[in-house]
Subunit: 101 residues, 4 copies
Amino acid sequence: MQVIVDLCVVPLGVGVSVSEYIAECHRVLAARGLRTELHAYGTNIEGEWDEVMSAIKECHEAVHRLGAPRITTTLKLGTRTDRVQSMDDKVQSVRDKLAAG
Amino acid sequence: MQVIVDLCVVPLGVGVSVSEYIAECHRVLAARGLRTELHAYGTNIEGEWDEVMSAIKECHEAVHRLGAPRITTTLKLGTRTDRVQSMDDKVQSVRDKLAAG
Amino acid sequence: MQVIVDLCVVPLGVGVSVSEYIAECHRVLAARGLRTELHAYGTNIEGEWDEVMSAIKECHEAVHRLGAPRITTTLKLGTRTDRVQSMDDKVQSVRDKLAAG
Amino acid sequence: MQVIVDLCVVPLGVGVSVSEYIAECHRVLAARGLRTELHAYGTNIEGEWDEVMSAIKECHEAVHRLGAPRITTTLKLGTRTDRVQSMDDKVQSVRDKLAAG
């Protein structure tokens, strides 16, 4: 089962600057070879369910290891059985509608 | 790693009434023996990370099997290494502050 | 336009214990007379869109005033035009399906 | 109060293809002159709290008008009082950490 995810990891107890922890998550995701897109309020990931979810668990472990005693993550998860759809397809589909007026 | 989750599964392509699909997720979670609390905009779950995440995958599979061609899920995931905290502890902690004025 | 909301306010830069800030949000919501339900990963609110959203803004202002320099909030927002539905209706609808087997 | 938002509007009761509704939201946001970034699982918006929230209300109204009887939206809302931060700043901050190794 393929999944498209929007991942937003928020470490608590480490002050207001969290980019170091987000960067660590990106290292984890990159090491797994997952396709990702960083945006201003999270990271999109696409891949096989088990691989993506295993990587997200490793993100939590890595952020705790870096010193965050508490983490709250918001995740959106999209799956479909009617057709295959990539992250690029989703963005392009909206852009096409906008271009059509 | 223990996790507290807020799970909100939204089936698309099956009309406006979705309670049948949420009920199916509850059957999946109950069959796993996971501790859950249903609320008006989702379901809280507590348990070991791998068990909870495996159950959430099974929810997606079950909702697709019931006929939903597309699902978008919103998940909140809380982990902490500083202490053990249950769902009941979280609610009680806020209630105590409110009672204290 | 009526809305049912799931509100989860997360203050950053104030350590790992956040229940004091959540309690402050509940005081704001109670002062507005809004119907709310606290759960282990947020607070459900129902009411008129403008009143609910104005209260959520006041929550952010109150949490900043209490000392949090940064806040990240996750919100779910449900509206429908086909029929009126309360938070209790939503929970009952799932319970009915579960009771029916 | 400035806010950075991640907006994901999900119309229910209109089938599995939702890009037409997302495009309509983008027309609403563009008409307001708000700065936005479309990504594969939502749209980031930055602006003054009241303007952004008013635009999001108009998105719900427009999506209902287009024919969706039910909408569930997931929103992330970030505010801070310690400093001004744009969407670009947030992305750049993570990229800088990654470039530094």
